[in-house]
């Protein structure tokens, strides 16, 4: 097995693993699965970002305490 074959296998594993891992992370963060219809048309678009904002706010409050 040469270098190109190894690169192809590693890339394939990374892509599949990366997509699966990001899906699990999103799920754990409580975000919805995005169907790819676009954030502009998506009523949940702002809540994806909003959730992060709120978390940051909470973190700040805890820091103050």
């Amino acid at each position: 097995m040469g270098v190109p074959e190894i690169i192809i296998i590693v890339s394939a594993v990374l892509i599949v693993g990366g997509v699966a891992a990001s899906a699990i992370v999103r799920k754990l963060k409580g975000k919805r699965g995005c169907s790819g219809c676009g954030c502009a048309g998506c009523p949940y678009g702002s809540s994806c970002g909003g959730r992060r904002e709120r978390k940051r706010d909470n973190d700040k409050k805890q820091d103050v305490v």
Partner: protein
């Protein structure tokens, strides 16, 4: 950070202002009810950054639908630093009705007179200063679309937010003012915030308020028993509404100076266009013609049927002998804009595949690795990406129709038809959104007040073929056109879209006459004026769609093609299989196991050794619908080599070749499209349906409904197409089903178990 909330009537331009302030690309549309959830953004041009919250449109602070509740609760509970009340200046009186209610809350309010450019264009004038003096809060004339007056609006809103404001009401001195005052004192004594607002709502006998403050509600009820108005009797809600409108008319309306043209002269272009487009007889046929024109321009390989009419020479091919031969058309006809873009992208992707394949072969890379990259990954990925131009073009046409204000008219003309099937015309808007994506469409059903109507609409939204299903329709329609030798893929695609609509209507009829019976809510919708769609918002929408499509293609679809290639080239004993031996692969094994289940729908056991391809494609489509064609694309190049001599075929051509080579018939292909179109949608849509459903039980029934509908409809298509006489059997079955429904509705059949009798027997 300070929070400014944008509140106003539906379609008054809140989201346009929000986009303008925050640089967002939130979807705007020329119809009421586009926004169903609040959005947040940041405005950075003031001394400090300010959070802007775009709220769903509301006509009043007495909510009827879930998205109206969001707006009311936000203003009352989240206590924004300033409420920017967007008022449609072209419809001043009605819009100021909400303003009079906002004034009753202890929150700084600023009025933004939006669409002032349209008022000026009509020759009218609004004296903003005079209006400001009368209302008692700042009034700024703006045009959210053109960006006029926005900076001034924000500066004044910022100043307002620093001062604060005490609530006041325009109902002072009216017949119910004493009662309002008594309620206010009682509520203030109980420590209720925004006592004046709650007092007025209590007097209006608002359902939420009555439940929250039962003691004060009792006082109102007692007073009501002794009260009798000449016009409205003791209908306090009507008295309050009338008082507000009278106040607006007497105090605010004179700020509007009309140009003085007579009613006939004032007949706008919108009114004239509506005489034709919303005609009670021609309205629906005109809509169907417009819809067909959209599909023809997107999918037809024979533009205006010039080829079929013999207007082109027999050997005519565009760019003959050059790169991109046939891109603009061939003897079959001139290609439509959608097909030209599709052909161009197909040429580019085929060239890339060819170049990579040559480079890998010349570099001595192992055959399996070349197969994985070229046939597996690129074959699958490019067959999906090729459809991107057609998807964008279709979205563009739909967006143009929506932004122009035509779609709102369609909802209006379909109301009469929909009403017969148990839905109101309002349900049409989320359905039309379903052509883009089921996720926002399902969320948009929040604008429907009736729970059963909302549930029925959510269930049928996936039947309106979304952008992700478009590659399935187009590729299979292309395959059918190739098999039958016709160039009319557009007619097949259009017919499949119509099939989705018809099945949706039949399903709604069935649901609304059995398990989801109820009154159809009245449909009142303000028809927006026709407007020229804005190029900027259209480009932003298409850019957003393209970005997400490409992102999806290079993540989930790319990963899927790798997995599909892997399981289709390895056996259960982990042995690598060449293309010819794919029938022994893991994927083939799983597909063959499930094949008998799909025999009644035409792509099961009857297809022989390669039939499993259709089964696995349908299953992978449950993750994302684009996967159906990605699976075909990945498998096609490998399979085609075993059937046909021309192994150089790539992309969609190889898919069409593979479809022909499996021996599947036209009825089974149409059944395959129908199955994929009507069955359980993608994961994201399923998750949204779960979130929007009132209970898990109803969600489970919904899943069952999708499986049953797809299976029944596709088997009907296949069996009738294959053996025409089965139409009588189906007719008989449907007649029996309808009879059962009618008898059930008349109470002559009861499916419920009589619990009492069972209890009696036990005892």
């Amino acid at each position: 950070m300070k929070k400014f909330a944008l509140a106003g009537n539906p379609n008054s331009g809140k989201t346009t202002l929000f986009n303008s302030l925050t640089g967002s690309t939130a979807h705007v549309g020329n119809w009421p009810g586009v926004t169903v959830d609040k959005r947040e953004g940041i405005y950075k041009k003031l001394k400090e950054p300010v959070a802007i919250i775009d709220l769903p449109g509301i006509y009043s602070l007495s909510p009827y639908t879930p998205e109206e509740v969001i707006s009311r609760n936000y203003i009352l509970d989240e206590k924004p630093d300033c409420v920017v009340n967007i008022v449609d200046a072209t419809n001043l009186e009605r819009n100021l009705y909400l303003t009079t209610q906002l004034l009753e809350i202890d929150v700084p309010v600023i009025v933004a007179l939006n669409m002032i450019d349209e008022v000026q264009k009509a020759g009218d004038k609004i004296d903003a200063q005079k209006l400001e003096q009368k209302i008692g809060v700042p009034v700024v004339a703006i045009s959210a679309l053109k960006g006029d007056g926005i900076d001034q609006l924000m500066k004044r809103a910022y100043e307002c937010s620093k001062v604060g404001r005490n609530a006041r009401t325009v109902l002072e001195g009216g017949a119910l003012s004493h009662l309002i005052r008594d309620c206010r004192i009682a509520l203030e004594g109980a420590g209720v915030e925004n006592a004046l607002f709650h007092a007025v709502k209590l007097v209006e006998q608002d359902e939420i308020e009555t439940k929250q403050h039962p003691q004060a509600a009792e006082t109102v009820q007692k007073f009501k028993e002794t009260f009798d108005d000449e016009t409205f009797g003791s209908d306090f809600e009507a008295i309050v509404a009338d008082s507000r409108y009278k106040y607006i008319s007497q105090n605010y309306s004179n700020a509007l100076i009309r140009s003085g043209k007579s009613g006939k002269e004032k007949l706008t272009r919108s009114d004239k266009a509506d005489r034709i487009l919303t005609h009670r007889i021609w309205g629906i046929p005109i809509f169907l013609v417009i819809l067909f024109a959209v599909f023809h321009l997107t999918f037809s390989e024979d533009l205006f049927y010039l080829g079929s009419m013999g207007a082109l020479g027999k050997d005519w091919v565009s760019l003959q002998g050059m790169w991109g031969e046939g891109v603009f058309g061939s003897a079959e006809g001139i290609a439509s804009p959608g097909v030209i873009l599709f052909n161009l992208l197909d040429c580019i992707t085929s060239s890339i595949s060819g170049a990579i394949s040559s480079a890998m072969n010349n570099g001595g890379v192992a055959q399996w690795a070349t197969g994985l990259v070229v046939d597996g990954v690129l074959g699958g990925l490019f067959s999906v990406l090729s459809f991107l131009p057609q998807i964008l073009l279709l979205f563009m046409f739909f967006s143009l129709l929506e932004d122009s204000g035509y779609m709102a008219r369609v909802a209006f003309i379909l109301d009469r038809l929909f009403r017969r099937f148990g839905l109101s015309g309002r349900a049409f808007m989320p359905m039309i959104m379903g052509f883009g994506c089921s996720v926002p469409a399902m969320a948009n059903t929040r604008t429907l007040a009736d729970e059963n109507e909302r549930l029925a609409t959510i269930r049928v939204i996936p039947f309106f073929s979304c952008g992700a299903k478009l590659p399935i329709l187009t590729a299979i329609a292309g395959g059918i056109a190739q098999m039958t030798g016709t160039g009319n893929a557009d007619i097949i695609t259009y017919s499949m879209y119509l099939l989705g609509i018809i099945v949706a209507i039949c399903a709604v009829l069935l649901m609304r006459s059995t398990t989801m019976r109820g009154e159809v809510s009245p449909f009142i919708m303000e028809l927006p004026s026709y407007r020229i769609p804005q190029a900027h918002s259209l480009v932003m929408l298409l850019w957003d769609k393209m970005k997400h499509f490409i992102k999806k293609a290079f993540t989930i679809i790319l990963a899927s093609t790798i997995l599909i290639w892997f399981v289709s080239h390895f056996s259960f004993s982990w042995e690598y299989l060449s293309d010819e031996k794919m029938n022994e692969s893991i994927l083939a094994g799983i597909g063959k196991l499930m094949q008998p289940l799909f025999t009644p729908v035409g792509f099961g056991s009857q297809l022989g050794e390669w039939g499993w391809v259709f089964v696995v494609a349908a299953i992978t489509g449950l993750i994302a619908k684009e996967n159906v064609i990605a699976t075909f694309g990945t498998l096609a190049t490998c399979i085609t080599g075993t059937f046909v001599a021309d192994e150089t075929l790539g992309g969609v051509d190889s898919v069409a070749q593979m479809i022909s080579a499996t021996g599947i018939g036209v009825p089974a292909l149409i059944a395959f499209i129908a199955f994929n179109m009507l069955t359980i949608p993608c994961f994201a849509a399923v998750a949204t349906a779960r979130a929007e459903m009132p209970s898990k039980k109803k969600f489970n029934y919904t899943l069952l409904f999708w499986v049953a509908s797809s299976y029944i409809v596709s088997s009907m298509i296949y069996l009738i197409g294959q053996w025409w006489w089965t139409v009588f059997i189906w007719a008989g079955l449907w007649a029996a089903a309808i009879t059962v429904v009618v008898l059930y509705n008349k109470g002559k059949i009861n499916f419920r178990i009589k619990k009492n009798k069972i209890t009696d027997k036990r005892s």
